[in-house]
């Protein structure tokens, strides 16, 4: 039954991804002008003579003379059948090549951020709920309001400044200098892990704060339910009954937000990564959009959207798998 459900959801994924690809493509075509106008303007202002014929030749080379539906068709068939995301105008490299270095890092930052958020927010939320109106609860309530209200990039700037003033270190980047251009090795991985916690904490801050409040609210609802008192009346220890019953029930929003945590992390990550100079997709996306580097920007938007859809699918499957009420009511 569960496999059937997963199969149906996977089939539904196909039209969804196609629609997303159209929207990504249209979105990046929306601003007036294209990369060639920008390029020609740049060359001319630098004093280089560019003839109309040369511009036309470039236009043909990149397929920009074709109609939009044709361009879309070329783009999507190249992605689907050749795994070719096109060429970036600004980097003069294939998009796949640029992203190959950055998407894994983005994924690493995102996944680790998600784990950081859960590992901190869930226990704190549970503690706050079981010790409602205690000093600790008030403390975390205060922290979470600050966390939700402070933009990540500001937090990043403050952190950089404090790290510099207090410890005289530059917390910028994901690697120490000697590893930045080195090929991947064990030492480089360790080096990355030593640096990565800074962006993770900063990017995760808002999500952690929000999740903490959600968890606390859910727990407060569940704690007064009859089944918690039943469990207590059976003689279970407080910790065991909390973990088995109300915490388990309260985890639903945690699982159901896996899908949309990803775009949240990524949009927060763009600015933080700019500030901290982290080589993820965020800064590249921003630059690509500014330059109207359509294949690069389109591909990033497309890949991130697909990841979001997949994330949502994963969280839906998790929910159905973990919550018998959902399993039997909506799947059967």
């Amino acid at each position: 039954m569960l496999t059937q459900y997963i199969g149906r959801r996977l089939l539904l994924l196909i039209p969804l991804v196609l629609i997303i690809s159209v929207i990504s493509f249209v979105l990046i075509q929306l601003p007036p002008g294209d990369i060639l106008n920008m390029e020609v303007l740049r060359l001319r202002s630098a004093g280089t003579q560019v003839s109309e014929e040369e511009v036309e030749a470039l236009r043909q080379l990149y397929g920009l003379d074709k109609s939009l539906p044709e361009q879309y068709w070329l783009w999507i068939t190249n992605i689907l059948f050749k795994g070719n995301f096109g060429t970036s105008f600004t980097y003069v490299k294939s998009v796949s090549e640029i992203l190959a270095a950055r998407v894994p890092l983005t994924a690493a930052v995102s996944v680790l951020t998600a784990i950081f958020v859960w590992v901190t927010a869930v226990p704190i939320g549970v503690y706050s709920a079981t010790h409602q109106y205690s000093l600790v609860d008030y403390f975390w309530t205060f922290v979470s309001f600050i966390g939700v209200a402070t933009p990540g990039f500001l937090l990043a700037l403050i952190f950089l400044w404090l790290a510099f003033v207090w410890f005289d270190i530059s917390a910028i980047g994901l690697f120490s200098q000697q590893y930045e251009t080195a090929p991947w090795s064990w030492a480089k991985l360790v080096n990355m892990l030593q640096h990565i916690w800074v962006p993770i904490v900063i990017i995760g801050m808002a999500n952690t704060a929000g999740m903490m409040r959600t968890m606390r609210g859910m727990m407060l609802d569940e704690l007064n339910k009859q089944y918690v008192i039943t469990a207590r009346s059976k003689g279970l220890t407080e910790t065991r009954l909390l973990v088995k019953y109300p915490v388990r029930t309260s985890m639903n929003p945690v699982f159901s937000t896996i899908g949309w945590m990803l775009p949240g992390i990524i949009s927060g990550e763009v600015l933080v990564s700019m500030v901290l100079n982290i080589p993820t997709t965020g800064p590249v996306l921003l630059q690509a959009l500014l330059n109207q580097d359509m294949f690069l920007a389109g591909s990033i938007v497309f890949i991130l959207s697909v990841l979001t859809v997949v994330g949502t699918l994963i969280s839906d499957i998790l929910l159905v798998w973990l919550d018998p009420r959902i399993r039997y009511e909506s799947v059967a």
Partner: protein, 350 residues
């Protein structure tokens, strides 16, 4: 009488310390539960009957609730006199001692069968959990067989399949049966049933009551049965305590109470039952007024502001004591005895 009593509650006071003030939810309740017998506690919503039984298992949330005075003596062994007793009121509500009693010596069935089981685990899982917790040396495969036996005993058909069902897949009546199966899985000496049939259809209600009585006979346990339904209490109880605003106002054997109700409140409760066999259907005879606000309890007798036999100068002056009028029949009312509450305490103290 002490030799056959299983649970003795003496002057129990459970108060809630809230921002608005202190709510004396249970204010000096004393009663005995004898082995194998059923004590019915009856009263309107908010009279403190649930808080009383939650106090026994130390389930009253603290803060804000606290047992401020009194004893809850659970007698050990077959002969209560010799084996000594544990005062549950003195135990740490989170400690190992009370946890060993919960679910094993004293277990509880609750009002809402819809929410009494955790929604994420199967019925079997939750029954097996209780068995493994309290019965040493039972393997989990044996515990499963025991859980199925228990489900079968409460009349659940296809028990070996229902054991793997989730609570939301069962009807209210089935869930309440499963709840009883769980409560009885460790053969407790005392079962506390907190309005176990209130949320059920009348036909299901009758089935559950019959089941409870049959099981009580089989297991030989004592039962505290809480309800606000007089018909139910007449059917199940041996002894009945009527509660009003945190105090017992009348206590007697079930026949004595229904034949010879003495307290005006008990009389009012009994009068308010509609009788279908009366020739001309009269208006429903409700008790005048409403239960007072817990912060504005009248001085003197708590029932004085609603009482049809109110005696000015007497009832509003002092709280009457719960005094024996006929053998085994105790009433808290100045119509029958002029002993005041405080004086009894002095007598007890001296």
């Amino acid at each position: 009488m002490a030799h056959d009593s299983l649970l003795e509650i003496k002057n129990l006071m459970t108060h809630f310390h809230l921002h608005e003030g202190i709510v004396r939810a249970v204010d000096g309740v004393s009663f005995d539960v004898r082995r194998g017998q059923t004590l019915g506690i009856i009263g309107e919503s908010g009279c403190g009957k649930s808080v009383t039984v939650h106090s026994i298992l130390r389930l009253v949330p603290s803060p804000p609730g606290n047992i401020v005075d009194g004893q809850i003596l659970l007698h050990q062994g077959e002969n209560g006199m010799g084996a000594g007793a544990i005062d549950l009121a003195q135990l740490d509500p989170r400690g190992a001692q009370i946890r060993a009693i919960r679910g094993a010596e004293i277990s509880m069935v609750f009002q809402e069968p819809m929410t009494s089981f955790g929604p994420m685990h199967t019925i079997g899982n939750q029954i097996i959990e209780t068995i493994l917790l309290h019965q040493e040396g039972v393997e989990s495969s044996d515990a499963r067989a025991l859980a199925i036996d228990n489900l079968r005993r409460v009349g659940i058909p296809r028990a070996e399949q229902i054991v793997d069902a989730y609570p939301h897949q069962l009807s209210g009546g089935m869930r309440q049966r499963a709840m009883i199966a769980m409560a009885l899985s460790c053969t407790p000496r005392l079962l506390i049933a907190d309005e176990p049939t209130t949320a059920l259809d009348v036909t299901i209600q009758a089935q559950i009551l019959e089941l409870l009585m049959a099981l009580q006979e089989e297991v030989g346990m004592a039962v505290i049965f809480i309800t606000h339904n007089l018909g139910v209490i007449a059917e199940v109880a041996d002894e009945v305590a009527v509660m009003y605003l945190g105090r017992i106002v009348e206590q007697a054997s079930v026949n004595e109470l229904f034949d010879n109700p003495q307290h005006p409140y008990t009389q009012g409760l009994l009068n308010s039952i509609p009788h279908i066999d009366e020739e001309k259907l009269p208006r429903l005879r409700a008790i005048e007024g409403v239960v007072p606000d817990p912060y504005e309890i009248p001085s003197g007798c708590a029932f004085s502001d609603r009482c049809p036999s109110f005696m000015p100068g007497t009832c509003d002056r002092a709280m009457p004591a719960l005094d024996e009028t006929v053998s085994g029949h105790r009433v808290r009312c100045f119509l029958y005895s002029d002993v005041e509450e405080g004086l009894v305490e002095v007598e007890n103290g001296g």
